[in-house]
Each structure stands twice: as structure tokens, then as C-alpha cells.
């Protein structure tokens, strides 16, 4: 589905007259002496999904806060929905919807009252406000909980209410700051479905995430933010190609099989625990077959075999590790968390 969405988008990207939903050049932000964003450039074409990928503390939330006019930032150019964020923040606000990382619902009132509050603040006529509220509560599976104070909602319900509130004003550009962090798999997939529905309706989605899979599932373009800079930008496929983390892990029943396999596969390394072989692998069908053929030729029977595609750990390992420090995969995980 995202693949279908890619095509018209690709056209608009090449169209120089189209106004991008987000256009930032040289975006900087510092708190005192601490530089959080060190001159980043972002272009998000209208109608596309853009994912900002990065570990905790990379500055993802700061980017969302600046783009959504919550805080100021220095930039050569900063336009959201075609409006200058510094000169006309109210025009930007009228065009956007934001679902932050921390639930932005009023816990003291009910889910329905939260929705009606949004309808009033968007100056919808009363009847339309009620209609939109009923529709969104239904769509986000909150009808049963609608009359209860939001403070008693589960984490997933709060997120759904949060997102439903963001949609009340029918915003054309939506910012989602880590929309699925802390959600269970079912809620995560439900959120993904909703994002796809939004995009099908022509909405531009700017999301941040720690999960490569999420960016992979949803985004047309992904930018990797590391230490306040864009470390890489491209489609999910392009990014994965940058990452050498893809590998096949082969386990063996005994030390003899292990040794002969290691001889047959000189490029293989040991995994962290030293129990299995780790063979670099970029995802191709032929490469996998040739690997199996070589094991067969050596007369080695593998006890177990698993294919690992690059994940965010690998992306960060690849994009943020300096040449002088070569952290082990285990250490790369520490860097991420």
C-alpha cells in the first residue's frame, strides 16, 4: 500500500512548483551551551510520510517541537504548510495536528469531553462537533470508554484518544512523536493502519520513531538523526543498503561441525556468545543458496539457521560509530538504549 503511495509522491518531489509540507534549512537549536540540533535540512513533500529515526536524546522530539511551533529554533528557512514558522506561527498551527510523545489529553474529563473540547477549539458548529466526535470515537474504538474520565484509560487507549483529538480539526499535516513507543503489537499495528488511512486521504505525516521497522512500514522517506545531525536520508531500502548488519546465523550441534563450517566459510565471524557463526548477508536469494551449498559441499549439517535483517541497532552502529572505535554489536545496543 505504501508502495502505491510512493509513485504520485515521487512525481510531486520532482515538481519544483509544489510547496513542500515541511521545508527546513539549517535548523539549529541549543539549550545554553548544549547544542541539540546542529543545522539540519528537511524537505517533506505534501502527501508523503516522512520518518525521523533516531535513538533517545538524538533530538527527534526537539525537531517536532520546533516544527509544531511549541518552541522556537534558529533556521535559515523554516516553513510548515507553506507558512513561515517564526513570522506566522498561528497559520502553521491552523494547518497542523500534533500528537506528542507524552499523552496530551485532559485526564480529569471524559474521552468524549476531550473530543468536544477540541471541536470547540476548532470552532466547529455544535452539531458538526458532535458528529465528528462520535465518528472518531467509533473509529478509534473508544465508544465504550467515552463516558469515563481519561485518567483511567490504559496507555494504548490514551494514545488512541490523543490521536483522535489531533484529527478533530482535519489537519493536513500531522506530527506524530513516537506514536507507538510503549504500545503492544496489536495497538501498534492499529496505529500503522490509521496512519495509512490518513495518507490515503492526502494527509502529510511526519513521524519520529526508534524502530526501523516502523519507518520501513510507513515512510516514503527516512532521515536518521544522530547527535543533532542528519546522518543519512533515503528510502528504507536505501538505508538498509548502508547498513552491514544483515547476516545469517548458523548454529551447530558439536565442535567438529563448527570447526569444519568455519573452514568452509572463511568470511564468517563468531556471534557475541561465541556459539554460532555469523555470515554477512544482504538479503539476496542466490547468496543464501550459495551459503547452503557451501555448507553441503563441506558436509556440515547445521543445527539451526536464522536470517537477520538490519535493525535500528545496526543502522546506528553503522552510521554513528567513528573509525577509531569499533564497538561490538552488544555495545552498539548500549549506544542505542
Amino acid at each position: 500500500m505504501t508502495k502505491h503511495a510512493t509513485k504520485p509522491m515521487a512525481k510531486s518531489m520532482t515538481d519544483p512548483t509544489a510547496t513542500p509540507a515541511v521545508l527546513a534549512r539549517g535548523l539549529r537549536k541549543s539549550y545554553g551551551n548544549h547544542l541539540v540540533l546542529d543545522g539540519i535540512d528537511l524537505t517533506v513533500p505534501t502527501g508523503s510520510v516522512f520518518a525521523l529515526l533516531g535513538p533517545n536524546g538524538a533530538g527527534k522530539t526537539t525537531v517536532v517541537k520546533i516544527l509544531s511551533t511549541l518552541i522556537g529554533g534558529e533556521a535559515d528557512t523554516l516553513r510548515v504548510g507553506g507558512h513561515d514558522a517564526a513570522a506566522d506561527p498561528q497559520a502553521v498551527r491552523a494547518a497542523i495536528g500534533v500528537t506528542g510523545q507524552f499523552s496530551a489529553v485532559d485526564g480529569l474529563i471524559t474521552g468524549e469531553e476531550n473530543m468536544l473540547l477540541m471541536a470547540d477549539l476548532h470552532h466547529l458548529p455544535r452539531a458538526e462537533g458532535r458528529r465528528v466526535t462520535a465518528e472518531l470515537l467509533e473509529r478509534f474504538d473508544l465508544v465504550e470508554a467515552a463516558k469515563r474520565p481519561a485518567v483511567g484509560y490504559s496507555g494504548g487507549m490514551k494514545r488512541r484518544l490523543d490521536l483522535a483529538m489531533t484529527l478533530v480539526g482535519d489537519p493536513r499535516i500531522i506530527f506524530l512523536d513516537e506514536p507507538t513507543t510503549g504500545l503492544d503489537p496489536r495497538s501498534r499495528h492499529r496505529t500503522w493502519e490509521i496512519v495509512r488511512e490518513l495518507v490515503a486521504g492526502g494527509v502529510t505525516v511526519f513521524l519520529t520513531t526508534q524502530y526501523l521497522e516502523e519507518a520501513d512500514q510507513l515512510a516514503d522517506r527516512i532521515a536518521v538523526l544522530s547527535d543533532g545531525r542528519i546522518a543519512a536520508e533515503g528510502s528504507a531500502e536505501e538505508l538498509k543498503r548502508l547498513v552491514p548488519g544483515g547476516h545469517v546465523r548458523v548454529r551447530f550441534a558439536g565442535p567438529d561441525a563448527f570447526r569444519s563450517a568455519a573452514r568452509a566459510l572463511p568470511e564468517a565471524g563468531l556471534d557475541e556468545a561465541g556459539q554460532a557463526l555469523r555470515i554477512p548477508y544482504d538479503g539476496g536469494q542466490r547468496e543464501l543458496r550459495s551459503l547452503l551449498d557451501r555448507l553441503d559441499a563441506a558436509g556440515v549439517e547445521a543445527d539451526g539457521l536464522s536470517v537477520h535483517t538490519p535493525d535500528l541497532d545496526d543502522v546506528f552502529f553503522a552510521l554513528t560509530a567513528g573509525p577509531d572505535r569499533t564497538p561490538t554489536p552488544a555495545r552498539a545496543k548500549e549506544v542505542v538504549r
Binding site: 509544531s68 511551533t69 511549541l70 518552541i71 522556537g72 498561528q90 497559520a91 498551527r93 491552523a94 497542523i96 500534533v98 506528542g100 507524552f102 499523552s103 496530551a104 489529553v105 485532559d106 485526564g107 480529569l108 474529563i109 469531553e113 473540547l117 470547540d120 477549539l121 476548532h122 470552532h123 474520565p149 483529538m165 480539526g169
Partner: protein
């Protein structure tokens, strides 16, 4: 939509939100009612006989002291509601929904204006409740005209508005609700060291200026004059000047704190 109609519309939406909070969680409102009522009963029934002879001379009875006391208690009620407002504002600012409001195309001041109007309405309701208790234990206004009643009401609303704006600033400036509660303590203590319970003239000389040169004393004297026909003198203008000054100060303080970039 013009700026003014946007302000009115969004502020009334925010007011509805605050009234919904107050209706759903009445304990904070009832809490601030308790202090003035208990103090009134204490002073009238425990200390009333002794104090009345001090104030009204020999032969004066408890009802004379009720008349003296009630205007002060009513203003004390007005002073304690904003203390609750400071806590409510501080709590509200920790809620994620405030960040959402900041990213919406709504009138910037509406969040605070909603708090202020909501709190003033609560103050007025509290004054009516405390006033009803006062009438029940024997308070009677002597010869106040309709115009004087209206002026008394206006004065109470003005005092409530002034102290609420200050309280909103206190709530905004406090890092957490506990600190807000401490910071708002002067709003509850100030009426205690005014002319609410005994005339300023009976206080020791060094203490008198503290009781005299603060907003509650002229407001209490003005209310007494309006309800009981005692002399107002320049207290009326002093009270209005205090209130307008505090309201303006509180407004600019609060709004500049609200405009400050969130962390």
C-alpha cells in the same frame, strides 16, 4: 475571525473546561470554603462575647460582633479561592494537554483567562455560601440600598479578579502543585492580619502599618460601609486602586510566564 471574538470564544471554551473540572472534583472548592466558615463560627461563638464588648463597648452583644466580622470573613473567602486556583493552575501546567493547546490556532491567553473567570465564579459562589451561613447565624445588613448591594457585589468580584490573576501567576511560577500551595499562603494569611477581626486601631503601633497598608483592609472597610453604613472615607478608592494594580500586575506576570518557552 477577529482577535476579540477569537479570544471570547476560546476563553469561554476554556472556562467550560475549568467549570467541568470544578464540578467533577468539588473537593478543592469545598476545601477552601471550610476555613472561612470555621473561623467565622469560632470567632462568633467562642470569642464573640468578649470581642463585642471590646469593639462595641459595654452592653454590646454577640450580634454586634457578627456584623463587624462578616464583611472580613466574606473577603477572606475571596482570598482563599485563589489559593486553590494557584494549585489548579500549577497542576494544569504539568498536563500534556497544555502543550497541545500551544500548538493549536487558538487565542494564546484563553487558557489563563478561562482559569481566571472560572475561579472568580467559584469565588462568588463561595461568598454566597459563606454569606448564607452568616445570615443563618444572625448577620443582617442594616439599611443597604440596592445600589450599595450592587457596589458590594462589584467590589467582591473586583477583589476576586485581582487576587485570582496574582494566584495564576503564582501557579505558573511554581515548579509543582506543592510549591504553588506554599506560595499562595500569603493570600490566606493576609486577611488574618487585616481589620477583619478587630479594628486596626487596637493593634500595637509597630504592627498597625502592616494591617493598614495592604489590600484587604480598605476592601473590608469599604464592604462594611456598604453593608452596614459605617464610614468608608478613602477606603473605597484605595481598595479599587489596589485591585486594579494587582490585577494588571498579575495579568502581565501570568501571561509573560505562559509565553515563556516550555521545557
Amino acid at each position: 475571525m477577529s482577535t476579540l471574538s477569537l479570544a471570547v470564544r476560546d476563553s469561554s471554551t476554556m472556562l467550560r473546561r475549568n467549570l467541568l473540572h470544578a464540578r467533577r472534583y468539588p473537593s478543592l472548592t469545598l476545601n477552601v470554603l471550610l476555613t472561612p466558615i470555621v473561623l467565622m463560627l469560632l470567632f462568633v461563638y467562642v470569642l464573640g462575647d468578649v470581642l463585642s464588648t471590646g469593639i462595641g463597648g459595654v452592653g454590646a452583644d454577640r450580634s454586634d460582633y457578627i456584623a463587624y466580622l462578616v464583611p472580613g470573613i466574606l473577603l477572606m473567602t475571596i482570598g482563599s479561592t485563589p489559593a486553590g486556583t494557584a494549585v489548579a493552575v500549577s497542576m494544569d501546567m504539568t498536563e500534556g494537554i497544555i502543550a497541545r493547546f500551544r500548538t493549536m490556532a487558538i487565542h494564546r491567553g484563553s487558557v489563563l483567562i478561562g482559569h481566571v473567570i472560572g475561579s472568580v465564579i467559584q469565588s462568588v459562589v463561595s461568598v454566597l455560601v459563606v454569606g448564607a451561613v452568616a445570615v443563618a447565624i444572625g448577620f443582617r445588613s442594616t439599611d443597604a440600598s440596592a445600589l450599595e448591594w450592587l457596589a458590594a457585589f462589584g467590589l467582591l468580584v473586583l477583589v476576586a479578579t485581582a487576587f485570582t490573576w496574582i494566584a495564576v501567576g503564582m501557579g505558573m511560577a511554581s515548579p509543582n502543585p506543592e510549591a504553588a500551595s506554599n506560595n499562595a499562603l500569603p493570600l490566606m494569611i493576609l486577611p488574618l492580619i487585616s481589620s477583619a477581626f478587630v479594628p486596626v486601631e487596637t493593634m500595637p503601633g509597630w504592627f498597625r502599618p502592616i494591617a493598614e497598608y495592604q489590600p484587604f483592609t480598605p476592601a473590608i472597610e469599604t464592604l462594611r460601609g456598604l453593608l452596614l453604613g459605617s464610614g468608608i472615607g478613602n477606603s473605597g478608592w484605595l481598595a479599587v486602586a489596589w485591585c486594579v494594580g494587582l490585577a494588571v500586575l498579575g495579568y502581565f506576570w501570568s501571561t509573560s510566564l505562559f509565553r515563556r518557552e516550555p521545557k
